[in-house]
Amino acid sequence: MAVATDPLLSVKDIVVDFKTRYGIARVLDHVTLDVNSGEILGIVGESGCGKSMTALSIMGLVPDPPGKVTSGSIKIGGMELVGMQLDSLRQIRGKDIGMIFQEPMTSLNPVFTVGEQIAESVRLHENASPKAAMDRAVEMLKAVDIPEAERRARAYPHQLSGGMRQRVMIAMALACRPKVLIADEPTTALDATVQAQIFDLLQDLQEETGTAIILITHDMGAIAELADAVAVMYAGRVVEKGTVDAVLSAPQHPYTKGLITCVPHLEPDPPVERHELMEIPGVVPALTELGKGCAFAPRCGEATEKCSVEEPQLLATGDKHLTACWVAQQERAQ
């Protein structure tokens, strides 16, 4: 990896709180991530660990109320996004950062043609004429391998399959050539063969455009294949992060170890079979009930007394490798 310059996107100590009936839920707890240009950062973790919320906080789309970004900083190209005026923020959304959502079936507006929806983004950010914007839309549809792009541009979302709709979402997110693309579980709702196609498409587009990608997924195989760096999240925290090579070949957090049932072979050929996250016994504690200590302690096989008293910080446990675990940090120190 290149020598670390200033990261393109830097998320620092982001805290997101939600007001719920049962009290304040700390949905993100000091999440820190860096994305360098041209890099693919994978984010993995169980359902509810805050992956989508991390993405939404970068977009400034945390539903408020009941949620709120309480503290922290998010910078893109040195520009601070937290607390930015909505009017300036919306010029960054879609232009500098594009986002693909988890649900292709409902993420497109049913009453506009897909061409119009892609073109709208171009018109908003590039002062393009309607004709030029529509031409770009068709061009983008071709870029995401949609056959008969001119005709499909005039189709409504309900006339397309789920895989097609996700391609349209990708085309829309990339239409203004953003610096960062956030793909929030872009394949969860699709069947296996389509999943592989979408991942291949993302990889190709990334190589062509050099867009940095934050890839949120449950699919460890996809991470091994596509990502340069990976962050593992648990209960609203980043518990381990580092280069894919380091984290996948030598996971240090007990939670990450549990996630990786078998280390994917990092062969040049992409493995055909994809490894789903292994079931880890126990459940994620309710976010309103988290006390002091390590959030993973109730489910951890390696927990010590200290674990339930004091919360471990995310510290270096190897080269380009950080882990928030007392035991891992101790091993490193020895």
Binding site: M59, R93, K95, S107, L108, N109, P110, V111
Partner: protein
Amino acid sequence: MGLWSTVAERVGYGLLLLVAVLILNFALISIAPGDIADTIAGDMGGADASVIEEIRTRYGLDQPFYVQLWRYLSRVVQFDLGYSYFYNTPVTTLILEKLPATLLLVFSAQILAVITGTLLGVLAAKKPNGAVSLTVTFLSLFGFAAPVFWTGILLIILFVSIFPLFPVAGMMDVTVEGGFFVKTLDVLHHLVLPMITLASIFLALYSRLARASMLEVLGADYVRTARAKGVPERGVLYKHALRNALGPVVTVAGLQFSAVISGAVVVEAVFSWPGLGTLALQSILARDTPTIMGILFFSSVVVIIFNILTDITLRFIDPRIKSG
């Protein structure tokens, strides 16, 4: 299914419905005690039994029910709705003369109610706990609870004695001289108060509906997508969300047309608006059966036409609607 085949299907159903309405009307009127013969006899200042019998034979009233019904239906098909003895005019002529005034009132009130109701609903949905939202809830409760004639009379009092801006009776001022443009303006000027009164009842319904529909749509994934690509909040509300929220409002507005027409009867009476409602009241008081049946027939035709128009509008709003 294409647009035209949908329209053809709707027109077909509409015609069937019309026949049903005609049969029902005819049956209802025949059940009611007394007939034209009694009315005519009454108008003549009383007549003896043989004269009444003669009138009955002349108008076919002595025939069995189905024969009378068949004759009536075949006359209606030729746009012959009979003759009004009260007004001494063919019923069709009588109705066509009054129909435009009612259509103008009903249509303008409906449009006013749908547009302002929707806008209020959108504003309310923008801040579901804000002041506008509360005002909408309050106003719609108020508008819903207040009887039409009460709203009308209140407006009359307000505009007669406090702000004499709008005429409170009739449809035009005979003293106004001028060309078509001036006359049109005069009619519109007279239209304001009856239109507002009639719209006020339905405004309540539409604004609550639009509010609920908008609140639901604003939580949809595609609204988040719109925000994520940088659409300004105005565009999110009025383009992405509203276009989707409009469906239920238009559907209900279409179903409400018959209610608006019934409301117009009262409003016309309050503001002496020379439309079908006023005609209907007079003919009921005069027991002018052919005219009453003619009005019922025409109102059904109008309601059916509006329903077809609603269906077509819905297809333009939501491309997912193919038929049904």
